[in-house]
């Protein structure tokens, strides 16, 4: 049974000011209703004035998604009553959106390249936010700090075939937006998704208000299972709107609510039609994820998988390019396979890692001064310090303090000799032809050196020692 998914994604554009007024968009941690003016409060007589930066951001997205940009687009009023909507209409775009018909390239579930078609993108303003106070007396408060924040709505065709694919699409879209510098994924509420999902031949369900990447996959996975179960039991899927309950990981029916709203759209008379042809020519795109991925493979000789991972986030890709000169392949392995995992585990951002320190670590690994295992230990020490807000120590200092340098020379020979002397049975077993005994001895040396020896070399060295010490 084919799964059919289409997404409507609302992303906050990271402009410094709101879509129709000069209020700052950076209200994080500020008191409610402190980033407001007559315009975003919808006071009588105030008029919207379009933020040109937001249009430029929208156009650069349109260009990056290979879209057609009509000569004239238009703002429209979407009329509805709600306490968080101060004008009782939202200024959005309706039948003349900013751009139409685009594409995004992703991998399908088999790892093949596939094209997801983009229907349209348009600009609109965010409403305010309701804060519901519960307890002995229940009431709601309105915070207009968010009112007028610029949103870009991106609508896909129903081209996605699984929740995992939807997740990959969003990751790719996020990467593109971040490469363009128009989106800050770390902001609260920076991305909100409505998903349409159906099983082939069945009714379509809209899941509203998903506010995270993980949430999209979770909500869609839940829906696929729910709809399949209904059909298996011989029941029908009802065409409806459902809400995603992030905490419980389920969707619930929003039956009856706002189902048949008539928004009475009409062109916004306070704004002129938008003519963007001249702007379009001026918009220059940076290198985008796919191009950068290809360049990484060619320029640094790294694998497709590493290139894909490293270019998934522009900051990560920048970091890699900074540290790659030490050794492109070793760097790719350490950034993509090890550093990224350690960062995720600590919920840290790549920007918290000083690239110079990381390069010193790579140099220690490359010169063979420390083993991979010791390298991980050093990296953890470094990251723990960063996470705690302390200055990042030099890897060499950590190696010295923790005595992590690869065991070598007399010290190393002495340890091997001591292990051989302490395990005569194993030594004689090896001599008798039991190859497994060698592994045991290597393990003992590893234990004594606490990982400071390279296990690949160690087998050879232990064998040589036994041979040399032949009685």
């Amino acid at each position: 049974m084919k799964t059919i998914i289409g997404l409507e994604i609302h992303v906050q554009l990271s402009t410094a000011t709101k879509l129709f007024c000069g209020c700052s968009t950076d209200y994080r941690d500020d008191e409610p209703n402190t980033h407001c003016c007559p315009i975003c409060l919808g006071l009588p007589g105030a008029l919207p004035r379009l933020n040109r930066k937001a249009v430029e951001y929208g156009l650069s997205v349109a260009k990056a998604l290979n879209m057609k940009v009509p000569e004239v687009s238009e703002f429209a009023r979407k009329n509805y009553f709600y306490p968080d909507l101060p004008k009782a209409y939202q200024i959005t775009q309706y039948d003349k959106p900013l751009a139409v018909e685009g594409t995004v390239e992703i991998e399908d579930d088999e790892g093949h390249e596939k094209i997801v078609r983009i229907t349209r993108v348009h600009l609109e303003e965010d409403p305010g936010r309701l804060v519901h106070v519960t307890g002995s007396s229940k009431y709601s408060l309105v915070d207009y700090n968010r009112s007028g924040i610029p949103l870009l709505e991106i609508v896909t065709e129903p081209d996605l075939r699984s929740p995992q694919e939807a997740r990959r699409f969003l990751n790719k879209l996020r990467a593109i937006l971040e490469y363009l510098g128009v989106f800050d994924g770390d902001r609260e509420g920076a991305l909100r998704v409505d998903a349409n999902i159906s099983l082939e031949g069945s009714e379509r369900v809209e899941v509203k208000n998903i506010s995270s990447y993980k949430g999209v996959e979770k909500a869609l996975t839940f829906e696929v299972t729910r709809q399949k179960n209904l059909l298996r039991r011989g029941q029908k899927v009802v065409r409806e709107t459902r809400h995603f309950m992030e905490g419980r990981g389920i969707t619930t029916s929003a039956r009856g609510k706002e189902e048949e709203y008539d928004y009475r759209y009409f062109p916004e008379p306070d704004l002129q039609p938008l003519r963007v042809a001249d702007w379009m020519e001026k918009i220059k795109l940076p290198e985008l994820p796919t191009a950068r991925k290809n360049r990484f493979m060619e320029q640094y000789g790294i694998s497709l998988n590493h290139a894909r991972t490293l270019t998934g986030d522009p900051k990560l890709a920048d970091f890699y390019e900074h540290v790659a000169p030490v050794d492109p392949i070793l760097s790719a392995t350490w950034v993509a396979d090890i550093l990224l995992g350690e960062l995720n585990y600590r919920d840290m951002s790549i920007s918290a890692v000083p690239p110079e320190r990381f390069m010193e670590l790579l140099a220690l690994l490359r010169s063979g001064t420390i083993t991979d295992k010791a390298g991980v230990q050093v990296l953890r020490e470094m990251l723990n310090a960063c996470a705690a807000g302390k200055p990042c120590e030099a890897p060499a200092t950590i190696v010295k303090r923790e005595n992590l340098a690869k065991a070598a020379g007399d010290e190393f020979t002495a340890i091997v000799q001591a292990v051989l002397a302490a395990n005569p049975q194993a030594v004689s077993d090896y001599r008798a032809g039991k190859k497994g005994a060698l592994n045991f001895l290597v393990g003992q040396v590893m234990k004594e050196t606490r990982g400071r020896a390279d296990p690949r070399e160690l087998g050879r060295i232990v064998a040589e020692c036994i041979d040399k010490s032949e009685v």
């Binding site: 007559p38 409060l41 919808g42 006071l43 009588p44 007589g45 105030a46 008029l47 919207p48 004035r49 379009l50 009023r77 009329n79 009553f81 306490p83 101060p86 004008k87 009782a88 209409y89 009431y139 309105v142 008539d262 009475r264 759209y265 009409f266 008379p269 306070d270 704004l271 002129q272």
Partner: protein, 433 residues
């Protein structure tokens, strides 16, 4: 020259909703001049109600741009004038604060919706006032009260701070006893304001000239036909004769699109109004909602109680006109009719420099005379075309019928406000002399 104007007028015609006893003034082209402002234009610190209960007690935290300019020019803002609720009417009788009376004949209406501003000027309480004109709301009361009123070209005066009734049609404009004062006030308020995106940077800097030699005046037959009081038509023809005597020539023109003008106008203005007035919910300003009810119940009760009957009627008409399934039949068609009228005027203005006719088809109505809305809507027929076309139009007194003032309306090309002012000035100077 700065100071405080002690302003306590004898407001026997109920021209004001609010008066400012101590009105500060400063230096400038309007230094010390008392100016009245229609009550739908935001004034920081002074109650602004739009003639509606729903905004009673609302004190704007900011000045409309025109108010800012008037203050800078040194004028004293002495009060806020009465008006039809949200501008919806042609008599000032739909005001929640009682009707304004016509100073020429207090048994008559002053016209509307800027009836308070017209009456304040006609009664001599102020030399000049601001009105707003969505479908004739400056020109109608100017004609009925025997004063001068200019509706500027759409996009010439900033609407920032004007509480919207029908955004695509309305403009703020000057009202005064003489064309010269209208021109003087116009030169203060017609300044570019980037906050109004529908504006062009075309400031008005003009001293009226009475030279109309060779001016080609279009006479549209639709302005002298059915529904127009023949005595008014004659009075206006005589006035145009005066302009001919000064060297102007007349040319017959036609605006065939006028047959759909009223229908188009009422669909567009009510549609926009239904959206504009949706924000009055008692949450942020005006009398507060009852927060013990559910929000939609509270909204419904408050709006049902505090909007007047005409406002409720127009909100419902507009809501209907924009509804799914009907928008194509009403809103979309009205836009086509509007374009036709605009084209008609453009065509006519290739032949002529200005177009002249009566401002209103009748003289001022008796108070309480217009009881059915339709007959009131019909009286706007000669003024709405200029709003639909976005062109400038002035009304200047040109005589009397039954002892009541008649207005001569002169319309011009877009952004040729200067020319309509000059034409009105030439007439006024000639008959005054």
């Amino acid at each position: 020259m700065t100071g405080i104007l002690d302003y306590s007028p004898d407001d026997r015609y109920n021209a004001f909703i609010t008066t400012c006893r101590e009105a500060p003034y400063g230096d400038g082209v309007l230094g010390g001049v008392a100016v009245a402002i229609k009550d739908n234009i935001s004034t920081a610190g002074i109650q602004t109600t739009c003639g509606s209960r729903i905004l009673e007690g609302y004190i704007p935290p900011y000045d409309a741009y025109v108010v800012e300019l008037i203050r800078k020019a040194g004028a004293a803002i002495v009060g806020k004038t009465n008006m039809d609720e949200f501008g919806m009417g042609s008599t000032t009788e739909t005001s929640a604060f009682g009707p304004t009376k016509n100073p020429v004949d207090p048994t008559r209406v002053p016209g509307g919706s800027s009836g308070g501003s017209a009456a304040a000027v006609a009664a001599g309480l102020v030399p000049m006032a601001l009105g707003t004109d969505t479908g004739g709301s400056i020109r109608c009361p100017a004609a009925f009260c025997g004063i001068v009123g200019l509706k500027p070209t759409y996009g010439r005066v900033s609407r920032y701070g004007l509480i919207a009734y029908a955004n695509s049609l309305e403009q703020i404009g000057p009202m005064a006893r003489t064309v010269e004062d209208v021109s003087r006030l116009m030169s203060v308020i017609a300044r570019y304001d980037p906050r109004d995106s529908t504006m062009l940077d075309r400031p008005y800097d003009h001293k009226p000239s009475a030279d109309v030699k060779g001016l080609r005046i279009g006479i549209p037959k639709e302005y002298f036909g059915e529904g127009v009081d023949p005595r008014i038509a004659d009075t206006v023809r005589d006035a145009i004769g005066v302009l001919e005597g000064l060297g102007a020539e007349t040319v017959p023109v036609s605006i065939p699109g006028m047959q759909h003008a009223l229908a188009a106008y009422y669909v567009i203005c009510t549609s926009e109004a239904s959206s504009n007035l949706a924000r009055f919910d008692g949450v942020r300003y005006g009398p507060a909602v009852d927060t013990r009810k559910t929000w939609h119940e509270a909204y419904q009760d408050l709006r049902g109680k505090l909007f007047g009957a005409e406002v409720r009627r127009r909100i419902m008409l507009g809501t209907f006109a924009l509804s799914a399934g009907y928008a194509g039949r009403y809103y979309a068609k009205a836009q086509i009719a509007r374009r036709n009228i605009r084209d008609d005027f453009e065509r006519a203005f290739r032949e002529v420099d200005v177009i002249a006719g009566p401002t209103m088809p009748t003289v001022a109505f008796r108070l309480g005379e217009k009881t059915d809305p339709l007959s009131m809507y019909l009286s706007d027929i000669l003024t709405v075309p200029a709003n639909l076309a976005g062109i400038p139009a002035i009304s200047v007194p040109c005589g009397k019928v039954d002892g009541l003032p008649v207005g001569l309306q002169i319309m011009g090309r877009q952004f040729e406000d200067e020319r309509v002012v000059d034409t009105a000035y030439a007439y006024e100077q000639e008959v005054r002399a």
